[in-house]
């Protein structure tokens, strides 16, 4: 079983790769579709601006590739990587995303319903509420704190894609899924044992869905 980490020049891949190493997961890091195609599942990380990220994905011919990949194999977006899965983002000028999950990425207003100012980014440990406890990503884990750092969040078009949410002056989608496509708004690689458990669940579902029978025997 092989995991591919999409390296398109946005953000720090070291922490994520070390988290995979701690889970004894073999992985490749690449920006080349032909390399990534060896993977049974992909992880799309990302820190930074939405527009820059989409430009880089287009330049590296990865946006089309990721959509094709996700037709048959699992794809997990983390933080900005999750936001890229949606139709579009308001960050900067309205920018089209990968369009794998219906919805739009919008900024925290910074003002609560009661008119009180609040802090942006949403930074720190926040509790998750499990909306769809049957999701394989949540298998065997109890709701706990996860580490978030973000100023934008996804407004879902279809509530059926919501797996878990956090509360930060309103409901913030924390885990989403649609078909083979998964997203985590927080950083599982930085969320202690809880984050590690969610990451392990993703690796297991990637392994189960893998067409390689060798993999099934080996690890699942």
């Amino acid at each position: 079983m092989m995991i591919g980490v999409v390296d398109y020049g946005m953000g720090n891949l070291y922490s994520l790769s070390q988290a995979l190493r701690r889970l004894d997961q073999t992985y490749i890091i690449s920006d080349q579709a032909e390399d990534l195609d060896r993977a049974d599942g992909l992880i799309l990380p990302g820190v930074g601006a939405f527009k820059d990220a989409m430009r880089l994905l287009h330049e590296k011919h990865l946006s089309t590739y990721l959509r094709t990949f996700a037709e048959t194999r699992p794809l997990l977006g983390i933080c900005l990587g999750m936001q890229l899965l949606f139709d579009e983002s308001e960050e900067g000028t309205l920018t089209k995303g990968l369009g794998l999950i219906p919805g739009r990425v919008v900024r925290f207003s910074g003002v609560s319903e009661k008119g009180r100012r609040y802090k942006v980014p949403h930074m720190g440990w926040n509790t998750l509420t499990f909306i769809n406890p049957n999701s394989p990503l949540l298998s065997g884990v109890k709701p706990d704190f996860a580490y978030f750092v973000h100023s934008y969040f996804a407004e879902l078009k279809n509530r059926g894609t919501l797996v878990a949410a956090a509360d930060y002056y309103g409901e913030v989608p924390a885990v989403v899924s649609r078909g083979n496509v998964y997203g985590m708004q927080f950083h599982p690689e930085k969320s202690g044992a809880f984050g590690q458990a969610l990451l392990r669940n993703y690796l297991q579902l990637a392994c189960r869905r893998s067409e390689s029978s060798a993999c099934r025997k080996e690890k699942c």
């Binding site: 070291y14 190493r21 802090k119 930060y168």
Partner: protein, 252 residues
């Protein structure tokens, strides 16, 4: 609900943690990775490593230490001390630090905040502000070089400026309270927290669990940092959190 964060700070000199002598259960009290794992296990929400090396060799050791910590630790950590250039910032973040903290270098060259934030995003750039009450002017003034050099900067105005430049978080140390163990500087912390829209980490003065309660409730801090009371086991992260939880503060 977003939790209030408890952040132990470790001073590092030439790649070794200093002030860790009380940890008899650790084979090597100066080993940054062992201490990081110890605090992680105790429930620390984040860690800060402050490089107090005087030499450039010491600074190079820091990058190596950051790599080792990042390979083992699964909570966020910040690295500060002696970061003077975008090149320094890049090295440390690429080695696996989640954030870097700028202090004297930000005062000397405020553009460094903007450059770092543009390159890596605001969330990676913490601005550390050391402030002391100035009786004559009735304001808090910013100090640099570990609190040794006074500046003319008003701490509240400076906090607003660094956030405009792109700082994603402020690490505020009260020089008046630092080392006194009489509690955090609540007025200053609240004033800065009210003045900016980014999280504020309060530092300086922690002596007991109730000091943390005060800085969260009265000082409106988002996180609190302490060094010696954790290192010398006067209290533990776990017992501070248990106390806060009992008082109704959201902690992890």
């Amino acid at each position: 609900m977003l939790a209030k964060r408890i952040i132990p700070c470790l001073d590092v000199k030439d790649g070794r943690v200093v002030k860790g002598k009380q940890f008899v259960q650790l084979r090597d009290a100066g080993d940054p990775v062992a201490l990081a794992m110890f605090y992680n296990h105790e429930g620390a929400d984040e860690l800060v490593f402050l490089d107090i090396s005087a030499s450039s060799e010491g600074r190079n050791t820091m990058v190596e230490m950051v790599k080792q910590v990042a390979a083992n630790l699964n909570i966020p950590f910040t690295v500060g001390g002696g970061i003077h250039s975008l090149e320094n910032i890049k090295k440390l973040l690429r080695a696996g630090a989640d954030k870097v903290s700028l202090n004297s270098s930000a005062v000397a060259n405020p553009d460094l905040i903007r450059e770092g934030a543009d390159f890596f995003g605001n969330q990676c750039i913490v601005c550390a502000i050391d402030a002391r009450w100035h009786q004559e002017s009735g304001t808090y003034k910013v100090y640099t070089h570990g609190g040794r050099r006074a500046t003319d900067l008003d701490a509240i105005a400076w906090a607003k400026k660094v956030v405009r430049l792109g700082a994603g978080e402020i690490l505020l140390t009260s020089m008046d309270q630092d080392g006194e163990k009489n509690g955090f500087e609540l007025n200053l912390t609240r004033a800065i927290s009210d003045a900016v829209d980014v999280p504020v980490i309060a530092s300086g003065g922690a002596g007991k669990a109730s000091d943390f309660l005060d800085v969260f409730e009265k000082g409106k801090a988002d996180a609190a940092l302490a060094a010696s009371i954790f290192h010398y086991k006067e209290t533990s992260v776990a017992s501070v959190k248990a106390f806060l939880k009992e008082k109704g503060v959201a902690v992890r």
